[in-house]
Amino acid sequence: MGNKQDIQYVVGKEKRLKDLISESELSPLLNSALKAGICNITLKDDTGNIIVEAKQEGFTSGLSCQYTLTVEGEPAGQLLITSDAEELKPLADLIYEALRSIINSNLKRVLTTEVHSSVVTQSYEELLETNRKLKESETRYRDLAENLDRKVQERTEELKKAYTRLIQQEKMASIGQLAAGLAHEINNPMGFIMSNLSTLQRYIERLREFINTQAEAIRKTSLTELISSIEEKRKVLKIDYLLQDSIELIRDSLEGSERVKKIVSDLKGFSHIDDAKISIIDINKEIDRTLNVLIHEIPDDAEIVKEYNDLPGFRCNPASICQAFLNIILNALQARQQGLKLKISTYYKDGMIHVIFSDNGPGIPEDIRERIFEPFFTTKEIGKGTGLGLTVVYDVITSYGGGIDIESKTGEGTTVKLTLPVKGDGDV
């Protein structure tokens, strides 16, 4: 069936009852119901599994009311309320109504938050505003929410995640724009430099031919004095060497220009950040592309060792993968200014592509290792790091069903190991 990994977020995923209700949210309601005389409340999902249950001590039997709970209008579970008095029926109805309302507003909240954390379309402030409104509409059931604090915290967590993506997207967008702008600026002069160089190459060839013909012609005359003075001059001025070398110089320059052209096209490729097209890529090439983008950030004395092995094509959104590589490489570059050695190796084994980045930086201190994937966790000074780099790496890699493992020894270096599963063609 559908290849889940290919899709980051689809509106419409099915929600089960237990995704929409939490015991902590319900316990105030259940407790007050028990206090009011209800003997037993049981909530089961559609397969009969108990989601929550609360009962009076010593309860054996009584009058039962049964209600069907629905999610998106479809039966999703049963609510069983038992009491020992007929008069409690209105109370049971009330509990059912409250529960229904909690489920519905949670469903709304989950759906809207999902749209936001996955599809960042609104500003953080608008997001807060929407959530505030959603909460207002829940006011009627406020008194149930003794554990409001916790819910707020959960919600803030969700918002924080959405915000993280927003910032990173903006960051990438501005890098992309800068890259696209640079690429354009460089492309123009590069165009005429290359075309001029080729013309120059042809001119020199012609000049050489002319000089040689001229020398030949003069040699055939009997003007010995002239001949020897010209040959003398030709030697002193190293004309033969000069002609030969000009040709080589131009060839080298043309080669250099080709390289610049390649970098520029890499930059352009890199700036295609919002074309989230899925395609099949060669991971080795993408790493090179990322390194090219970073070329001016890499110090001269840094040593980058590549140990690439042949890899099968990998199905992904190239921009997101480049983004992950970029963040890891940047971390290594920032970890050590002088004498950096970064080894990048790739290989394929048992359905997995392995990509390993190993640096000889200071390593990550043990006590912060647990936190490095947290959004906004950074040890870098303000303005230098946002603390989102590894968060994004984690998001990207796991979105392809892959794994990330970081090994680090203080004083020796850090190794980041990525594994990416290669799958057969999806049918999406």
Partner: protein, 220 residues
């Protein structure tokens, strides 16, 4: 298709009402909700609107069980029409099994219809769907108003595309069921091809449509 679950014997499909802002997508769903029987459908969920415009999406789910015992769920969504919500539109379009494009018949809206249709084409490609094969119907809504594009003009432009065209007034309630019914008709063929509704599940097209488009019995 949103979900296909062998063990739970369940298939979930998605239909999307697309179109420019304020063309009447939500009103279409409201009408379906009013006209169709509660049996076999869920409630209309209108997700938080701000200034009366859809920010997220609306959802109206339908259910039925096939003779083979599988549960079919059809989730009908609207998309937010405003230009700035393109990302949400993409997420709603993902994995859609059929689309009703709701155009606004008013003369002043020609450009918006056009832009929105272009946006639909672009986003379909973006989410990997093929506009040539995905079930698609077009509804020109708000026919009850005065300054509207003449029917002949619409016919001339759209008939050659082969896409079924409907004229409607969602506000007054006519044309809405016809549009929906044709969408279901085309969608049935589309999913029957992949999941053999007829051969494997014993569900004919007539029955499929009948079970979803069940009009409310008028109470006297």
């Amino acid at each position: 298709m949103i979900e296909y679950d062998e063990t739970e014997k369940r298939m979930v499909f998605k239909l999307v009402y697309y179109g420019p802002a304020l063309s009447g997508k939500t009103t279409n769903l409201l009408r379906l909700h009013d006209i169709l029987d509660t049996e076999g459908r869920g409630d209309l969920m209108v997700l938080d609107t701000k200034d009366d415009r859809t920010i997220f999406f609306d959802l109206l789910p339908f259910f039925l069980t096939t003779p083979s015992g599988w549960k079919l769920k059809i989730k009908v969504y609207t998309v937010p029409g405003q230009v700035k919500h393109d990302a949400t539109r993409k997420a709603v379009l993902q994995r859609a099994d059929g689309i009703a494009f709701i155009a606004d018949s008013q003369l002043s809206e020609i450009r918006n219809n056009f832009q929105s249709f272009e946006n639909l084409e672009k986003n379909l490609t973006f989410v990997g769907l093929d506009i040539a094969t995905i079930p698609l119907v077009i509804q020109f809504n708000k026919r009850d108003l005065q300054k509207i594009i003449p029917e002949e003009d619409i016919e001339r432009v759209w008939r050659p595309t082969g896409i079924p065209i409907f004229f409607a007034s969602a506000l007054k309630g006519w044309g809405v069921i016809e549009t929906f019914q044709m969408l279901l008709d085309k969608t049935y063929d589309y999913i029957d091809k992949r999941y053999s509704l007829q051969d494997v599940h014993g569900l004919s097209k007539e029955e499929f449509i009948q079970r979803i488009v069940r009009k409310k019995a008028m109470d006297h």
